[in-house]
Every structure is written in structure tokens, then in C-alpha cells.
Symmetry: C2
Subunit: 239 residues, 2 copies
DNA sequence: CGCGACCTTGAAGAACGTCAATGGTCGTGG
DNA sequence: CCACGACCATTGACGTTCTTCAAGGTCGCG
């Protein structure tokens, strides 16, 4: 649970206070909304297990996905300071989340500014990732965008120890990939085939395998600086 | 200078502490970088006068602009917690900025958690705007994107009292509009002509006039919820 | 007056979207 | 165990949006 802490920053024995936070554990089925656009949540949502994503509906039947989240993330930390939610949060797979009351978190921030800063930092990284996605959607080709998404997800999962060699779980449909990158399903499909036939990746049954990291990174123009990883920023596990 | 405070949140007489902050005032010519990608600034930059923008270079000769900033903004507040800058900051016009040392700000946050929270909130709104832009670039047509940009800028300028009736200063070239929305200059030009001939706007010599707010808002599908304006969120001045 | 920065215009083409149909896989229920 | 349906991946044909290239045109300024 407190792997969140090791991700963002080194804390002292204030992790003691963290571990005493009252949590409400909740299981949610795949494909359900957790909180909705316009809502005014009174809790934050720490992801313990599974995958979730954030999105917003635009006009008629169009959807933009902003981010995919992996265990340890608190995707709606922002609701601590923004009263009304400007997007929705939904599950990709079945997920286990821990709800934390805003009041408790605020109290914690007050008593331990170090924790507050770490959380603040976390929301800033969130923003940095948005910028990178924006740049990708605005400037990169479809092929490059998809490759970039794969690089990022692999990198992030690897950082929290959820990569298995050069493979990661990636339970995202082609439609969802399209909605996250501003592409149609059909075009995602065709681009994926190119990535596959170039021997860069394999993607099947919710598992993504990076077959050629340098090659993929080159197609993606992936530079992980925007993820602001604290520590060694170790290069992905494949040798 | 402390109009920043009225924007984000109501502060007590901690505005006293704010006004005692040591500032370094600096004037910068139009079209210059203030801080660069990869830098490790030790100051934050409060914009007092003029317009500036944030951007990142992608691949060969492509550029993504993330945001335009108006007086009162602190565009690189994030550098307080993220050591290395993942994008650049540059002036659109001549600008006057106040540099504030990180240490001083951190100290202030420590002594007045209320200020810290307000600043945090500010960075969260920043992130919210990124999400909206991302959605726009990913899902909206060129016409709609441009209209949306105009709505946002007008709305923000109006909120800080810089709108003059239905006109605002908008010293942005068509190339820069294109770079911010993921469009080519040529296409921006053609789309602008459509907006003009529909009688929605006029844009000349760095001044943008909204001729038909409801019409523009409709084309843009503009919903200001994402700007998280505190107060009455008064509708734009044109009655 | 002339130069540079910006806006405008036309034509051709690439990248990507839409529509529509087919096939694969998996879980569920008969 | 098999059949069915739901969901997802795949394919082809065709259309649109947007890009690229290239050439003027306008305006302000030294």
C-alpha cells in the first residue's frame, strides 16, 4: 500500500502516520465508473490492484482518455483542492481501491509538510505526463504515438516492479488506445500491425511484450525525462 | 502583483507576508526564452505584464505549445517540486516578470499552509487546462479547437479584468496558434477565415474581438467548468 | 525604399476517418 | 459438450480533413 511513498519521495517515520490512515477498501468490477464528471467527491482513491483510467466525453460520442493508472497511483488526488471533478474515473479491469477521506489527508498534510510536498509533487508529475501526451497527440504520427504510449506504460510499470522481464500486463482494447491518442480504432489496428511486423512488440490477450526496446524508443522518440522518476531512473529491465 | 491571490483563493492577512517576499523584477524582450528544457531553475517566475507561453520541441522542427499565460500567472510554479524542467518558457510580447526564490516560497508554504494550498490548487488548475487541451486536440475539429482556444483566453482574461468589452489583446501569430493546437499554419488561416465570415470573431493586429459569444461557444463546445474559477464565475462581459 | 515577419491563396497528396462486413475468442447457459 | 451471443480484432473500399509545397501579398519598421 505504501509503495506510493517509495515512488514519490523518501519519507521518515511519518510513514507510521500513513499506515494509520483510515482506509475503506472497495472492489470494483471491470468497466465501471468510479467517480463521474461533475461530481464532488469527499474521498481520494488509491489504486491497490488492477488498472483504471480517466476520461472525459466530448461532443457526440467522442471520448478522450487522459491517463492509465497502475497500482500505487492516486488518480484523483486533485479533488483534494478542486471541488468539482472535471473528468470521470473508470476501471479497465477489476480493481481494488482504498478510499481516503479528504479531511484525513488534509490533516496529514498539515502535520507533515513533507508528505504534502510529496503528494503535490505527484500531481505535478501527473501534469507533466499530460503535457507529453498533448505533445504526442498534437505533433506525432499515429505510429509514433502508439509506440510512445507503450514505452511510457512499460517504463512506469517497470519502475514499480510490475514488469515481468520485457512483458507487462496491458488490458487495454484498441478502441481505448484510440480514444487515448485521438485515433480511430481502425487506424490503431493498422498501426499495431506495423509495429508487430517490424518486430518491435507483440500484443496479445492483454499482455504487451517489448521485443526491441531501442527500436521502439526510436520510433516513439521516447525521452523519459517527463516522468520525473526520482531515483536511478534505471533503464527498463531488458538487459 | 498580488492579484494572483484574489484569483486562486481568499487569503487572510498572510498577504502581508506575500507582499514582503523578495522579488527580482526583470524585463524581457519579445520572442526570448526565459527558462529552457532541461534547466534546473532556482526561482519561480510570476508574470506581471505581457504574455508568455510554454512549449516543447518534438522531433524535427515540430513544436507543441502547452499554454499561454497572462499577467498574474506563475507558469513554472511546478519547478518548486520538480527539479528539472520538462519544457521551455518563452515570451510572446515584451514582458515584465518577478522572480521569486524557491526557498522563500517553500518557507512561506511551511509557515502558511493556506498559501501552499492555494498554490497547489493553482498547479492543479494548470493540469486541468492541459486535460481540456488534450481533449480538444484529440477529439475536436480544427474549427472547434480554435474557437475553444479563443473562448478560454477570453474567459481567463475577463476573469482578471483584462478584457475590454468584448475585445482582448491576443498577440499570437497563426503559426503559434497552429503549434498550440496541432494544426498547420495554412489550416489555421483557413479556419480563421471561416470564423470571421461566420461573424463570430474579428482578429487583427493582436486584438481579438468576440462578435458572437453564444455562437462561438457553441462551435467550441466550450464549458468553463475545467477552469475551476472560484467565485461567481461570471459570464463573459458581453451582457 | 527595402527587408523581414506575417498573412493569404492554390493545388496536390498523405494521413487518417468512416462505414460495413467478417472472423476469433471466450464465457455462459442449455 | 455444444451453441449462442458479446466483445474485440481485422479487412477493404472510399471519403474527408488536414498537411505540404510553393508562390504571392501586406504591413510595419529601420
Amino acid at each position: 500500500v505504501r509503495k506510493l511513498e517509495s515512488i514519490t519521495d523518501l519519507s521518515i517515520e511519518e510513514r507510521d502516520a500513513l499506515s494509520r490512515l483510515p482506509l475503506i477498501i472497495k472492489e470494483i468490477r471491470a468497466g465501471e465508473d468510479i467517480v463521474r464528471y461533475g461530481g464532488r467527491p469527499s474521498h481520494c482513491c488509491l489504486l491497490i490492484e488492477g488498472f483504471i483510467y480517466r476520461y472525459k466525453l466530448i461532443g457526440e460520442g467522442r471520448r478522450q482518455i487522459f491517463s492509465f493508472h497502475t497500482p500505487g497511483d492516486i488518480p484523483d488526488l486533485q479533488s483534494l483542492h478542486l471541488k468539482v471533478l472535471d473528468h470521470s474515473l473508470a476501471t479497465l479491469t477489476m480493481a481494488k481501491v482504498a478510499l481516503i477521506q479528504h479531511d484525513h489527508l488534509r490533516n496529514l498534510n498539515f502535520r507533515f509538510p513533507g508528505i504534502g510536498n510529496a503528494l503535490w509533487r505527484d500531481t505535478l508529475i501527473d501534469g507533466s505526463i499530460f503535457r507529453e501526451w498533448m505533445a504526442g497527440i498534437g505533433q506525432r504520427s499515429a505510429l509514433s504515438r502508439i509506440a510512445h504510449l507503450f514505452c511510457e506504460i512499460y517504463f512506469r510499470l517497470n519502475a514499480v516492479g510490475l514488469a515481468d522481464g520485457h512483458s507487462i500486463p496491458f488490458p487495454v482494447t484498441q478502441e481505448q488506445i484510440g480514444d487515448s491518442l485521438g485515433l480511430s480504432t481502425v487506424h490503431v489496428n493498422r498501426s499495431l500491425q506495423k509495429l508487430r511486423s517490424s518486430g518491435l512488440i507483440t500484443l496479445r490477450g492483454g499482455t504487451l511484450a517489448i521485443e526491441d526496446w531501442p527500436g521502439l524508443q526510436k520510433v516513439a522518440e521516447f525521452d523519459p525525462i517527463y516522468l520525473h522518476q526520482e531515483v536511478d531512473a534505471r533503464p527498463p529491465g531488458l538487459q
